[in-house]
C-alpha cells in the first residue's frame, strides 16, 4: 500500500498560500514545477528524501509567493531553494548525507532495479559531490544551463560549477573503469 492510500492524503488539501490571488498563482506555478523538482530531488537526496525536500522547498517558497511568481525563471529559483533545503538537511543530520539505497527502496513500487540502473548510478555519482556541486552538475548537464547561468542560480562562483563537473566526470570515469565507490560529502567547494 502506498503512503497516500495508507494515510488518506488524496484530494481535499489546500495550499498554504491558497485563498489570495498570489497564493492561487503560486499554487499553480509550483504544481507545474513539482514533477521536475521531485525528479531532481530524487537524484540529489534519493527517493526517500525527495518528497520531504520538495515539501520543505514548497513551505519555504510559499512564505513569499511573489518572489517565485516574479522571478524570471521560477524553476531556477525553486531549484535553488530546494538545493538549499537539501544542503541544510545534510548539515543538520550528517547521517542523511549518504543516500540510502536500501533493498526496500530499490524494490519498492516501480519495477525493480533493472529499470533504475541509470538512476542509481547517477545518485551514486552525485553523492560524491557536495549539494551545490551536485546541483550545478544537474543544472548544466541535465537542464542545459550554461556554467555562468548555473553559477548565478546557485549563487556560487563559476569555478565551483566547473570543478563540480570535473569531479563528476572523474567519478564517472572511475566508475566505468573500476566500479562505483562512494565518497563522503564535504562542504561546498
Amino acid at each position: 500500500m502506498r503512503a497516500d492510500e495508507q494515510y488518506g492524503w488524496s484530494g481535499a488539501m489546500r495550499t498554504q498560500g491558497g485563498g489570495s490571488p498570489a497564493g492561487e498563482d503560486f499554487h499553480e506555478v509550483f504544481c507545474a514545477l513539482l514533477p521536475r523538482l521531485y525528479r531532481r530531488a530524487a537524484l540529489l537526496a534519493g527517493r526517500s528524501g525527495a518528497e520531504d525536500a520538495v515539501h520543505e522547498a514548497y513551505l519555504k517558497l510559499s512564505s513569499r509567493p511573489r518572489r517565485l511568481l516574479d522571478h524570471p525563471e521560477p524553476y531556477a529559483y525553486a531549484f535553488a531553494a530546494m538545493v538549499s533545503v537539501i544542503r541544510d538537511e545534510w548539515r543538520r543530520d550528517r547521517r542523511q548525507a549518504l543516500v540510502p539505497l536500501t533493498g526496500d527502496e530499490i524494490g519498492s513500487w516501480d519495477g525493480g532495479i533493472g529499470h533504475r540502473e541509470a538512476e542509481l548510478e547517477a545518485v551514486e555519482l552525485l553523492s560524491g559531490l557536495s549539494a551545490k556541486q551536485a546541483a550545478a552538475v544537474l543544472l548544466v548537464d541535465l537542464d542545459g544551463y550554461t556554467i555562468d547561468e548555473a553559477a548565478d542560480i546557485l549563487g556560487v562562483h563559476r569555478g565551483t560549477v566547473s570543478r563540480a563537473r570535473a569531479r563528476a566526470l572523474l567519478a564517472l570515469r572511475s566508475s566505468l573503469t573500476t566500479g562505483t565507490g562512494r565518497e563522503g560529502r564535504d562542504g561546498d567547494g
Partner: protein, 192 residues
Amino acid sequence: MVMDEQAGSEQDELRDLLRRADSSIRIPPGLNDRVMGTTGAGDRWRARRWSRWQPVAAAIAAAVLAGGSFAAGTKFGRHTERSVRPVTAGALPADLTVYNAERPCQSLHTIECGISIRDISRVKGSITVARVWHGDVVHADCVTADADPVTDEAGVSSTRWYHVTLPHSGVTGWLPGVRTRNTVEIPLCTTH
C-alpha cells in the same frame, strides 16, 4: 585534440546517464497533495524538527519545573505526600498513532516494516497477534510502565507498553511505547 574529444565524449556520457536517470524517476501518486497539503509530509517534517529539539526542550522544562518546585518547597515549607497526585489520575483511554522510527519504512506497508502487536507485554515468549504500520491509529485503553524495555531505531527506549485495540479488526494486544510518540497520559493497567 584527442583529449578534447575524450572530454567531450565523457560529457556526453554524463549527460546521457543523467537523462536516463531523470526519465526513470516516476512521480509517486498523490505527490501534489502530500507536498502542497497541510498534513502528511508537512506533519512528518514538523515532527522530525520537533523531535530534534524535544530532548533539549524537555530537559529545560524539567529543570525549570524542578527548580520551581524546589524553590516553592523551600519558601513555603512542607509538601505532604497526600498532596501529590499521580500523573495518570484522571487519564482517559486515547487514540495513538503508530510511529516507526525507521524512515525508509514510514511509507512502506511491507511485512518487514510492520510493527508487531503482541499478546503480552514482553518481547520474549510473546506472539504477534497483529501488525500495524507507521501512521496507523490504534486505541489505547491502558499502559503498563514496567514491561520489557524496547529500543527503537532512533535510540529511544522505554519499558512502557500500551494495551491497544485495532479499530478495524478489533484485535487487542500490546504495543511497545517506543512505537508511538504519545503525549497524553493513559491510565495505568490494573487488570491486564
